[in-house]
């Protein structure tokens, strides 16, 4: 098995456009600082894994990225536009170009799975599709997450893991250039969690979208960094087939880890650097063993 997949060059465009940029962003709720002076930049096709314990501000960070939470100071650029001071009405258009998976899936429980997945397509202002086209796309999206049999079910009839998968289908149905995942594996058993992460990797490598993944589990990031979906045989394959970790300098999945602690961004770098870190808090997320 070789790692040189035919689309590798396409996944690493030479001059990547900036999709999301935080400049000294500070957010506080009732005098409690949730995100403190955070800056980072994401370009097309890149994967970012934000690690942090509960309450470290990582979900706040994600919500601020699409303007769901107002920031106190700093600037946020989304898809090249400064969204810092945009009114809610102006944000709708930009937001509809970004995919989001919420912590519990965030599905609308009063409508069916098919209607949920179709929601972003039906409600976007531009590019209206015919009902038949929407139906085909919904079926494709649900087949992608292996849930094509649930079309007419309601969200409360599905398990937590299935709801998360429907959430992914809904997030990627418009084929957005940037997808945000809020704790995709929180509260799931390890096997289901792995299935979800495999789907996210599959989505990344099928659509070449950039991903911002907020999670508490280092394994989630490890999977994103070290595995790639092979479209030929439909399986996830390690990018380093000979085993061993990711050597410093080589990062074929373009995965960057970020660690949040009490609102501060205390680490940003590759998996190898994360694992080499001697900081007590960071090492809790990255066990010092490769593989």
């Amino acid at each position: 098995m070789t790692t040189a997949s035919p689309n590798q060059s396409a996944q690493n465009p030479p001059a990547a456009a900036s999709l999301l940029r935080f400049e000294n962003v500070t957010i506080s709720f009732d005098e409690v600082v949730a995100v403190d002076n955070v800056s980072f930049e994401m370009s097309a096709g890149e994967t970012r894994v934000v690690l942090g314990s509960a309450g470290s501000g990582k979900t706040t960070l994600l919500k601020a990225a699409i303007g769901l939470i107002r920031i106190d100071s700093g600037r946020i650029f989304l898809l090249g536009r400064d969204i810092t001071n945009l009114a809610e009405r102006q944000l709708f258009d930009i937001r509809s170009q970004v995919g989001v998976l919420f912590q519990e899936g965030g599905l609308f429980d009063s409508i069916t799975i098919a209607e949920n997945v179709a929601y972003p397509l039906v409600n976007r202002k531009t590019n209206q599709l015919s009902p038949a086209e929407v139906e085909t796309k919904v079926e494709d999206a649900l087949r992608f997450v292996e849930l094509s049999h649930t079309l007419d079910k309601y969200p409360n009839e599905l398990s937590g893991g299935m709801r998360r998968r429907v959430g992914i289908a809904r997030a990627v149905i418009t084929e957005p250039p940037l997808v945000l995942y809020d704790s995709p594996t929180a509260g799931l058993d390890p096997i289901t969690a792995n299935t979800i992460m495999a789907l996210i990797a599959k989505e990344r490598d099928s659509l070449n979208a950039a991903n911002l993944i907020v999670t508490q589990r280092f394994q989630d990031g490890q999977l994103m960094a070290n595995f790639r979906y092979n479209r030929m045989n439909g399986h996830l394959e390690p990018v380093h087939p000979n085993g061993g970790g990711d050597p410093e300098g080589s990062n074929p999945t373009r995965t960057t880890f970020m660690v949040m602690k009490e609102g501060h961004l205390i680490f940003e770098g590759t998996q190898a650097r994360l694992e080499a870190s001697t900081d007590a808090y960071i090492s809790k997320f990255a066990p010092h063993h490769n593989n």
Partner: protein
């Protein structure tokens, strides 16, 4: 609209009927002292159409629907469905608030008309069975007592209440925080606040209409 309108119909009919019954019974005793018991029709008609019909119906709808709206939107808020809606580029106000406001604004005046009418029937049943007033006298005097001003304020009030009740319900629903407990709190708040506002608004509107006469 179906839930607000048809769902509220039985209780509105029941309360309307018994309100008419009670007014007639109470008033007949007072009126008998002045030998004016035949005036019971106009009194029931005016109190119901002007005040009790709109207010009682609105209070019932506040209890049933402001609470329903607040808990529904509140649950959506705490399960991130509102955030999801915003994140998918749609306006929750347009998707959730506007339809509820329209539905309430259409249904509440209709329910009020039903309550007024059923209340008059309740009054008639007592006037006929207990007081022994002839039916024709009751209905004719009740009908003649009503002026345009009464009808206008009787229909304008439920319209105003409808906007207020649905807005209060949506407002408390959408600003829910703190999980399931927060939903319960928002629901209680919505009912209490909208009920109080019904009485404040009816005082204001009555004041305006009384001056118009």
């Amino acid at each position: 609209m179906d839930v607000i309108g048809v769902g509220s119909l039985p209780i509105v009919v029941l309360i309307g009927f018994f309100t008419g019954v009670v007014i007639t019974m109470q008033m007949s005793r007072a009126l008998a002292q002045y030998g004016a018991i035949d005036q019971v029709g106009p009194i029931v008609a005016i109190t119901l159409v002007r005040e009790l019909g709109p207010v009682l119906t609105a209070v019932l709808v506040a209890g049933r629907n402001a609470s329903g709206i607040a808990s529904e939107l509140g649950s959506m808020k705490v399960t991130e469905q509102i955030d999801a809606m915003r994140a998918l580029g749609t306006d929750p106000i347009q998707k959730l608030v506007t339809p509820r406001m329209i539905a309430t604004a259409v249904m509440l005046p209709m329910l009020t008309i039903v309550a007024d009418f059923v209340g008059l029937i309740g009054g008639w049943s007592i006037a006929r069975l207990s007081i022994g007033l002839p039916s024709s006298q009751y209905w004719t005097s009740a009908y003649q007592a009503l002026e345009y001003n009464d009808i206008t304020q009787g229909l304008l009030k439920p319209f105003v209440f409808a906007f207020m009740v649905s807005l209060v319900g949506c407002f408390y629903g959408l600003r829910t925080t703190g999980g399931t407990q927060g939903v319960g709190h928002a629901t209680t708040q919505a009912v209490v606040v909208s009920s109080v506002w019904i009485f404040v608004l009816t005082s204001l509107l009555t004041r305006i209409f009384v001056n118009l006469q």
